[in-house]
Structures are given as C-alpha cells and as structure tokens.
C-alpha cells in the first residue's frame, strides 16, 4: 500500500514528466516543424500518459501519430494546449501550497 508521501512523489514526478514533454513538443512544433524531435517527444508523451493511467489522452496521442504518418502536423498545437487544460490539476500540483 502506498503512503500519502509516496503518492505525492508520484504526482510530482508525473507533473515533471508531463511539463517537460509538453514543453519540448511545443518547441518542436514551433517555427519549422522538427519532425524527428516531434516523433521522439510524442513517443515520450505516450509513455508518460500510459504510466499515469491516462488512457483517454493516450488515444489522442495515437491519433497524433496517425495524422503524422499522413503529414498532417497542423493540429499539434491545439492538442498540446488541450493537454495543458486537461492535465491542469496535475501540472499545477503543489502550486496551491505556495
């Protein structure tokens, strides 16, 4: 059984992983698309979300992969923004205590 402290560490780790991955994915989509970096960060994002048990978001990332294979990259920014909104509770974890 996990303690509250262990669960807090898990949520903090989730937030850290999610923040860094979303940031790198956002950067990769800015200016001219860095397709290799997008692919790496998309894969990483899928792993993060799988470990968080966020299967609904995993499916959305899979859709990103499908659109990428068709060279439809224009939707990335809106999906990243949606993830920021949808994951706000985790991304802002601990900020309320400051």
């Amino acid at each position: 059984m996990l303690t509250d402290a262990q669960i807090d560490v898990m949520i903090e780790s989730s937030a850290e992983s999610l923040k860094s991955t979303l940031l790198l994915l956002q950067k990769a989509t800015e200016n001219s698309y860095n397709f290799k970096e997008i692919s790496v960060q998309r894969h990483r994002l899928k792993g993060v979300l799988l470990n968080m048990g966020e299967n609904g978001w995993v499916e959305i990332v899979r859709q990103m992969e499908k659109s990428a294979s068709k060279k439809e990259h224009k939707k990335y920014s809106s999906i990243v923004e949606s993830l920021h909104v949808g994951m706000a509770d985790i991304l802002l974890f601990g900020h309320g205590d400051e």
């Binding site: 894969h43 799988l50 048990g53």
Partner: protein
C-alpha cells in the same frame, strides 16, 4: 541484486526505482550514453550490474544503440554468454518493431510495456532468476487518511 535504470522520463524512473530498490543497490541514468559509461565502469571495477531496465526512445543515445554498444563492450572483454548483463527493454506496448529488433538481435531478455506494472517486472526478475520468489500481490491504493 544490482540494478541500472536507464530512462529519460521522471515518472517511469521513479516507478522502476520504487520497485527495484527493494532488492538492492539501484542506479539511475537518463540516456543511453550514460548507460554505456555506467556499465563499462561497473565492468572495469568488477561490480557488474545484474539487471538493466532500458528505455528505447531516449535523447542523446537511444536504447537500441546503447545496448548494441554494451554488448560490444562485453564481447570485447570476453564475457561469457551466461554472464552477460540481463536487459529488460521498456517501451510503449505497441512498439513492436523496436521490441522485435531487440529480441532478434539477441540483445535483450525481456520487455516491459508501459504502463510499468510491478507484477510484470517482478515476473521478469523471477524468470531471470534474479529474485527467488514472487512477493504477495499488494493492493496499491492510497492509505486511508
């Protein structure tokens, strides 16, 4: 049991560390290049790792390339087949191509699909004879406040 976790994602690192650290010393690095260096050092110091959990997609040097280099180092040192570092590749479940590449190259012993599940990891450790028995399944839920 001496373990090396190679993972660029903080959450996955923490999950793997929370499990493997119960069974002994556990080191953590964030990319394949660091993994190659750590394994090489451990061999030079005659304190080899028993198991390495290796993510496939990582910055600087990916898991496949890192593993290839590690196997090359082991061969160069004349390490026998049964003494080679045991490797569990860690990746998203649908990443079949990467998994098959690792198996077909004879480079890894098992793979662990994300999400990381304790029971699955322990089964691999048991199958690889790194732990003697499977622990009782735990109910990983938050303790009542």
């Amino acid at each position: 049991m001496r373990s090396l976790i190679v993972e660029d994602d903080a959450l996955a690192r923490m999950l793997l560390l929370s499990i493997l650290s119960r069974y002994g010393e556990c080191d953590v690095v964030e990319n394949g290049e660091e993994a190659v260096q750590r394994v090489s050092s451990s061999l030079e110091e005659d304190t080899p790792y028993d198991i390495m959990c290796l993510d496939i997609v990582m910055p600087i040097l990916g898991g496949q390339e890192a593993l290839s280099q590690i196997r090359s180092i082991e061969r160069g040192r004349g390490i026998k087949e049964h003494k080679l570092l045991k490797v569990i590749m860690v990746t998203a479940i649908e990443d079949f191509d990467n998994i098959m590449q690792a198996f077909e190259g004879g480079h890894c012993e098992a793979y662990l699909a994300k999400p990381v599940r304790e029971e699955e990891l322990l089964e691999h450790l048991y199958d690889l004879e790194l732990i003697k028995e499977m622990p009782q399944q735990k109910d990983n839920v938050r303790e009542q406040r």
